[in-house]
């Protein structure tokens, strides 16, 4: 009886295991089709390094590309550069509005 059960169950394992393997393969092929994402950090600054007038802002931007990771990175850096320049303007306006009460 035991032998009969073994003969029946063994082929069934193959039947269940195979579809699982196929699903894994599908996921992997789907992953490689996703557009690559890249992030880039840029900073803008004014003032003197090490002194209390030094003003620096860093901005990180991310981008995707249908072409390549390098293209996504270049796009992210263009975005980060523009954002950093704008961020420094905002920083200067923010520090310019500071009033110290006594």
């Amino acid at each position: 009886m035991k032998k009969l059960l073994f003969i029946l169950i063994l082929p069934m394992q193959f039947c269940f295991a195979n579809p699982i393997k196929k699903t894994e393969n599908n996921l992997q092929s789907q992953k490689s089709e996703v557009d690559p994402l890249a992030c880039c950090t840029r900073r803008a600054s004014s003032g003197t390094y090490g002194q209390p007038d030094y003003n620096q802002v860093s901005v990180t931007r991310c981008a995707t590309s249908t072409q390549s990771y390098q293209d996504a990175y270049a796009r992210a850096c263009v975005l980060a550069e523009a954002s950093a320049t704008k961020a420094l303007e905002i920083s200067e306006a923010t520090s310019g509005s500071v009033l110290i009460g006594r």
Binding site: G47, T48, Y49, G50, Q51, Y54, S58, R61, V98
Partner: protein, 238 residues
């Protein structure tokens, strides 16, 4: 005899008012998190026994720091005044990033411990000293061959001119590269600004407020602004 005394007087006056011009290579490479600063400049110290004037200029740099993919790139700038110190009343003055205010720092004195260790810098015999200053520990070397209690930034108050400073975390380095006598004038350029002076403590409180405003500012969903929380001094820990 009168002529002799006159000559002695004139000589002592000249010796007392002898000005030195020292150029230091300055680097701040503090990248242990995103709130630090990276920068390279030349710090020019014009000093005598009673006061000093500092000018700074950024130097053209492209540097790969700690093997990171993105290099640090900065452009050169001309010399601009950055600090004035008066050793008689122990005050230092500078601009701040708050355009309405300049800094008058009266509590920057570093309690140095002089050690029995020596090395030669630019031909001068230098002695080691150690001390802590606003969040970092430092080693510095001073020379009694130039008996002026001066040095770059706030690193002064030793029996001779400070020629080298390094923080133990290696983030801050000043290294003298030239020393010469000079006739350059020393003055407080910040008095001309006609701005209100703030203390160091007031500066730090204001900076913290500015830091929080900038950190909370979100012009778009996926943009975050990061501003430093420290410079040579650690303003506060996040």
């Amino acid at each position: 005899m009168k002529r002799f005394f006159l000559l002695v007087f004139l000589f002592s006056f000249t010796a007392f008012s002898q000005n030195y011009l020292v150029d230091y290579k300055f680097s701040i490479v503090d990248n242990k998190d995103e709130y630090g600063i990276i920068g390279f400049s030349i710090t020019r110290l014009i000093t005598n026994k009673t006061e000093s004037l500092t000018l700074s200029k950024n130097i053209d740099t492209t540097a790969i720091i700690n093997g990171k993919d993105e290099p640090h790139i900065q452009e050169a700038s001309p010399f601009a005044v950055s600090q004035y110190k008066n050793f008689i009343d122990g005050k230092r003055f500078s601009r701040t990033l708050f355009p309405k205010y300049n800094l008058k720092d009266e509590n920057y004195t570093i309690p140095w411990k002089i050690e029995k260790s020596f090395k030669t810098i630019l031909g001068y015999n230098c002695q080691k000293a150690t001390g802590s200053y606003r969040g970092r520990d430092y080693i510095c070397y001073f020379t009694e061959d130039i008996p002026i209690q001066s040095g770059p930034h706030t690193f002064d108050g030793l029996p001779g001119l400070v020629l080298e400073v390094m923080s133990l975390d290696k983030a801050i380095v000043f290294k003298a590269i030239t020393i010469e006598e000079t006739n350059e004038k020393i003055y407080n350029p910040f008095d001309q600004d006609k701005k209100e002076y703030i203390s160091w403590e007031e500066f730090v409180v204001a900076y913290k407020g500015y830091f929080e405003k900038m950190s909370n500012y979100k012009p778009e969903e996926d943009i975050e602004f990061v501003v430093p929380n420290r410079s040579i001094e650690v303003y506060f820990t996040k």
